[in-house]
Every structure is written in structure tokens, then in C-alpha cells.
């Protein structure tokens, strides 16, 4: 069977989400691991659950897999209620964090395991196993044992094992955590490509924002058992709703600005210590003048120019540090009234070494309208002072 037929078999009626969670809730003892949570993963797409450890992403995955029963709520896979089905009846594929390849079985036996369990006849099992090993580029390792393979190879075997049964959904639990950086990037690409080719709905659990951004069609950012934001990678990256999301995905300059006044549908804000006219943020709910509002500006959006060339209205800052990072210069900027230094990237377009601002230089700050994002107030954190 070719990859094309794999795809054909796993395609679903349009509009039916590949996975739907409805108000799923789970607590262990007195600890609420998951607040009532709902989200949909469109069929054939890859969705990442992103968050720090203990945020509930693994619990969510284990509930989808059937290892844990939710206290309340529903899990629908391809429109079917699977909430109380045992794992073996859910027809899922899963790659575990440490791969969990059976140590007493060869690579081929590992891959064939799911087919044997489904009582697929021997000839077909062998054929499908061989084809799957071809797909993951490991045909020559069929008779090795897992401990004889490298980390990347084990990863591929785990992937092959999870896909050979043509599952209705693929679960990936931090699948690349154990690999080194280069291999990880390569595998991210490979997995993503395979997933697209097969068109399998996939749920990926990760705490690595880059991985989430590279691989996903959709990112669900979680913290403390609840979803903070869900959306496409660009949406979540460009329009973080809260400080946590903004900081967890990439680097962000978070500035507590003062509301100068309401203008049209937006707000006029002033940087702390800035007496000038401030800047405008569109589409923001009204707030009383004088109150504080958090604004996030990505370092790549922050433009800096030597004070001599800067507009008179631009707020000033001093260069306090500089790092060369290949594709960009990274500047650290200090400005009175800010407790943390600001970060600014300056993309290198010409020969390296051009236009470096020395430490101590005074610069003017500016950004394009629309790149400064007003953040929602954080939900009050449990136990926070």
C-alpha cells in the first residue's frame, strides 16, 4: 500500500473534527490537573498542546489515549464518543516520550505488534511492516533490538509502530525530547511531512515552543490545567492574548504602559517615564485614563536608530549589551522606568559588521503600528500573593 492509499483511508468527512474535547475535567486527589477544557482539532491537522510541565497537557493526552478517565466531559474522536473506551479500542497511534519500544522484541516485531494484535494475517503483517520500515528509512534494521539503535532510529521505529495500524489519530508525547538539536529539527520536518502525506489527525504534546511553531497547524497553550489560548501558530505568536502566552512563545518585551486616553476603538498609551504623545493601539476595549496596561512588543518589531537619526518624538533608550547571532544583531536596551531591559533584533541584510551600535549609545525606539499588542489582564493565579 502506498502513502496515497494510507491517506485515502484516513480521510474523513469534511467538517467533522478529528478530535473534540468537551468540558473535560480531571483531578488527582485534591489537585485539579485539568479544569473543564474544550477544544476541537480539525481532521487531518496537527495540533500541539504547549505549556510548561504540570500544565495539564500530558493529562489531556492521557485522557485522549484512554489511560486516564476524565471526571467529567466527553472525548470524541472522528465524531464518536470514546470517553469511556479502553485504549485498545480507540484505534490510536502513539509515540511515547522515551519511545517505549519493547526491549525484548526486534524492530520488526515491535512494528508488527499492533497488526498481530489486530489479527492481521501473517503475510500482510510482514508486507505492511516492511513497507512501514521503508517509509521511515530503516529497512536494514528490521532484526536489531531497540537497544542496538541510536536515539533517532528508535524514534523512527516508534513512529513506524504507531502508524502501521493506520490509526484514526496519532498521539505524540514529547517525541523528540531525547534527541539532539540537529536531529530534532530534521525529525520535526520528517514527522510533519509524513503527517501531511497521510493526513492523520495528530495531537502533539510539547514544552518546546519552537517545535510547536514548526510542526503545528494549531497550537493550544496551556498553563495550570487550563487553556490560555488556541489558534494557528501565527495567530498565537502574533496575537498573544496574555503575558504568559506572549512570553512562552518566543521572546517578548512586556511593558507596563499608562493609559493616556481612549481614541476611536483603541487606546493611546504611554511608555513609563515618557511624557510625549505616546502610541496608539487599535481594537482595544476602553480603559480609564491613568490605569496600567500591559503591552507586548516582539524584539524583531522593535526598531532602533541612533539618537541623532531618530525622530524627536521617539522614546529614548541606551544600548547596554550586544550579541551577534548570525542572522541578526541582538541589542539589550535600558530605559529609565523599566525594571527589565528591552530586547531588539536587527536583521542583517548587508555584510556583517555594518551599522553596529556601540554599548552606551543612545537610541530612539519605534515600531510599526499594530505590532505592539495589548495583553489581557492575567487571570488571578491560585496561591499568588
Amino acid at each position: 500500500m502506498t502513502q496515497a492509499t494510507l491517506k485515502a483511508q484516513s480521510s474523513v468527512t469534511a467538517g467533522e473534527p478529528g478530535l473534540r474535547l468537551r468540558d473535560v475535567r480531571k483531578s488527582f486527589g485534591s489537585v485539579a490537573a485539568l479544569q473543564p477544557t474544550s477544544f476541537d482539532v480539525p481532521a487531518g491537522t496537527l495540533c500541539s498542546l504547549l505549556g510548561p510541565s504540570g500544565c495539564g497537557k500530558t493529562t489531556t493526552l492521557r485522557i485522549v489515549a484512554g489511560f486516564e478517565l476524565p471526571d467529567a466531559g466527553q472525548v470524541l474522536i472522528r465524531g464518536e464518543d470514546r470517553t469511556y473506551d479502553p485504549p485498545q479500542r480507540r484505534k490510536l497511534g502513539m509515540v511515547f516520550q522515551n519511545y517505549s519500544l519493547f526491549p525484548h522484541m526486534t524492530v520488526a516485531q515491535n512494528v508488527a505488534f499492533g497488526l498481530r494484535m489486530a489479527r492481521v494475517n501473517r503475510a500482510e503483517t510482514e508486507a505492511r511492516t516492511r513497507r512501514m520500515l521503508d517509509i521511515v528509512h530503516l529497512p536494514q534494521h528490521a532484526d536489531r533490538y531497540p537497544h542496538q539503535l541510536s536515539g533517532g532510529q528508535q524514534q523512527r521505529v516508534a513512529l513506524a509502530r504507531s502508524l502501521v495500524t493506520e490509526p484514526s489519530m496519532l498521539l505524540l508525547d514529547e517525541p523528540l525530547g531525547a534527541l539532539d538539536k540537529n536531529l530534532r529539527e530534521q525529525m520535526q520536518f520528517e514527522i510533519r511531512q509524513l503527517q501531511r502525506e497521510i493526513g492523520i489527525t495528530t495531537l502533539l504534546v510539547t514544552h518546546d515552543q519552537e517545535e510547536a511553531l514548526t510542526m503545528s497547524d494549531m497550537i493550544v497553550v496551556m498553563d495550570r490545567g487550563r487553556i490560555l489560548q488556541a489558534g494557528s501558530p501565527t495567530e498565537v505568536y502574533e496575537h498573544p492574548r496574555t503575558r504568559f502566552v506572549s512570553e512562552f512563545l518566543g521572546t517578548s518585551n512586556i511593558i507596563a504602559c499608562t493609559v493616556a486616553g481612549v481614541e476611536g476603538g483603541g487606546l493611546r498609551l504611554r511608555l513609563p517615564g515618557d511624557a510625549g504623545s505616546g502610541f496608539f493601539v487599535a481594537d482595544a476595549p476602553a480603559r480609564p485614563a491613568g490605569s496600567t496596561a500591559l503591552v507586548a512588543i516582539r524584539p524583531e518589531h522593535l526598531r532602533i536608530a541612533p539618537a541623532t537619526q531618530a525622530g524627536a518624538d521617539e522614546p529614548r533608550a541606551t544600548v547596554s549589551g550586544h550579541v551577534f547571532r548570525g542572522a541578526a544583531h541582538v541589542f539589550q536596551l535600558k530605559r529609565p522606568g523599566l525594571d527589565r531591559p528591552l530586547m531588539a533584533y536587527r536583521q542583517i541584510t548587508g555584510p556583517v559588521g555594518e551599522t553596529v551600535l556601540p554599548v552606551g549609545a543612545e537610541v530612539g525606539l519605534s515600531w510599526l503600528p499594530g505590532t505592539a499588542r495589548l495583553l489581557e489582564d492575567e487571570p488571578v493565579r491560585e496561591g499568588a500573593a
Partner: protein, 274 residues
């Protein structure tokens, strides 16, 4: 290679060499008394004496001609094997449940399952003698089997719990998600993975059963004589090397058994990293 390089090489290997030395001393300690037993078994003298002055195989001939020793050895091996199997049938499911249980009952249950280890066997033997006689089992192979199984269960339970805990849940979850039923997961994944635990538990059980004098004593009859009972009563009246010879034969049987296991199943589950 320079002198410093070879010195540094040695330095890196030093801990292993020290460990090896320790292990060799350990086995010297372990085998020292046994060496004398084997030597004495080949002695020519009528009584057990050391040093052995002349050697012969006469005590091995004596074994062939004095049937109770060999008969009871065979009986003891059957009993040890059967009780180890029975203990595994009782103990393995219990151990698997206990290892994964979050229940507060688990500690209590474990304590009960391990308690037979702690009671002097002579007390257990006499208590069982009266109990089993009262229910009509009397002095029989079944009674001996029950008694030996009681004391074998703790070994199986404890080693399997330890090994199963060490394995973690992931393999079984992987099997479940691949569609394996509970039973399939157990047969194809759990059982092979806890093999070393079951093996060592059963090995313990066999060893304890073979050396179990106090418990077997009360169930000894003409048909149900175990080796330790026969050896004890033999030794009480005769201090000749036949006892050393039967001990040596016992060791040879164990060696052959272990070799067979290695040839067929392989002892690799006792050593290779999984």
C-alpha cells in the same frame, strides 16, 4: 602510547578492577566451606575428616546403593518445582496488582503475603500438620505442597513487585494503544519483561524448599520423604561422606539445570540491560 596515557587508562579502569577483586574475594568466601564439602565427598575414610588423605568414589557408590538419599532428592526436586510453580500462579497476579496499586490496602495485603517469611518454619509446620490433618489431607504430597507453597509465595511476590515497579507503565500503555487486550498485553509484553523477577522468585522458592527441614519434617512419611529430612536422620547416626556426596550431586543437578536454562531460554533476562 605514552606512560601518562597508559597510567590514565589504568586509572580509568581502576574502579572496575577493584570491583572485580572484590567479587573474586566474595566468591572465595562464598565457596570456601563448599570446597571442603566437595573434597570430603571424594574421601576414602569412613567418617568425615579433614584433611582428606586418600580419594575414592565409594560414597557415590553408596548413594546408588542407599536408596533413600537419591529417592528423597528426586522427591524434593519434584516438590520444589511444583511448589515454585504453584507459588508463581498465586504470587505473580498478586504482585502485579500490588505493584501498581495506589490503594491504602496494598501495604496491608503485602504484609500478609510476605509474613510467611518471618515465622519460624517449625511453628508453621506444626500448625499446618494439625490443620491439614483435621481437614483430611494428613501426611501427603498435597500437604507438603501446600506447606511449601505458603513459604514460597513471599519470594515470588516480593521479587516480581520490585521488578515490575522498575519497568514502569509505558510498555503496557504502548501495547494497549496498539490494540492489545489486557490478556495480550500481559502475555506478550508484561510477562517477558518481568521474566527476571519470576525467575529469581521461583529460584528462591526452589532453594528454600530444597533446604527446608523444619517444615518438611512434620510431613515426612515413607512416601513423602524430602532430602533434608533424610539427610538429617542419616547424619544423626552416621558421620560419613555420603552426605557430602549427596550435596555435591545436588549442586551438579543445579549446574545442569542452569546450563539447560541458558541453552534453551537463556539467562540473558538476568543480565542484559533491557
Amino acid at each position: 602510547m605514552t606512560a601518562t596515557a597508559s597510567w590514565r587508562r589504568l586509572e580509568r579502569r581502576l574502579p572496575i578492577l577493584l570491583l572485580l577483586a572484590f567479587v573474586l574475594i566474595f566468591f572465595a568466601f562464598l565457596l570456601a566451606p563448599i570446597v571442603f564439602v566437595v573434597l570430603v565427598s571424594f574421601g576414602d575414610s569412613e567418617i568425615i575428616a579433614f584433611p582428606v588423605t586418600s580419594y575414592s568414589l565409594r560414597w557415590y557408590h553408596r548413594l546408588l546403593e542407599y536408596r533413600p538419599l537419591l529417592d528423597s532428592l528426586w522427591f524434593s526436586l519434584k516438590l520444589a518445582g511444583a511448589s515454585a510453580v504453584l507459588a508463581a500462579l498465586f504470587g505473580v497476579p498478586a504482585a502485579l496488582a500490588l505493584a501498581r496499586s495506589r490503594s491504602g490496602l496494598a501495604d496491608l495485603v503485602s504484609t500478609v503475603l510476605l509474613a510467611p517469611l518471618s515465622i519460624p518454619m517449625i511453628l508453621l509446620g506444626i500448625a499446618l500438620l494439625y490443620k491439614l490433618s483435621a481437614i483430611g489431607l494428613g501426611i501427603s504430597f498435597t500437604s507438603l505442597l501446600i506447606a511449601h507453597t505458603v513459604v514460597s509465595i513471599p519470594y515470588v511476590v516480593r521479587t516480581v513487585v520490585a521488578v515490575y515497579r522498575g519497568i514502569g507503565r509505558n510498555y503496557e500503555e504502548a501495547a494497549a494503544i496498539l490494540g492489545a487486550s489486557r490478556r495480550q498485553t500481559f502475555t506478550y509484553v508484561t510477562l517477558p519483561l518481568i521474566g527476571s523477577g519470576i525467575f529469581s522468585g521461583m529460584l528462591f522458592a526452589v532453594l528454600i524448599s530444597l533446604d527446608n527441614l523444619s517444615l518438611s519434617l512434620f510431613f515426612g512419611s515413607a512416601q513423602t520423604n524430602t532430602l533434608p529430612v533424610v539427610m538429617l536422620s542419616y547424619l544423626q547416626n552416621q558421620f560419613d561422606p555420603a552426605i557430602a556426596a549427596i550435596g555435591t550431586v545436588q549442586m551438579i543437578i543445579a549446574l545442569v539445570a542452569l546450563l539447560l536454562i541458558e541453552r534453551t531460554v537463556g539467562l540473558k533476562f538476568m543480565s542484559s540491560p533491557s
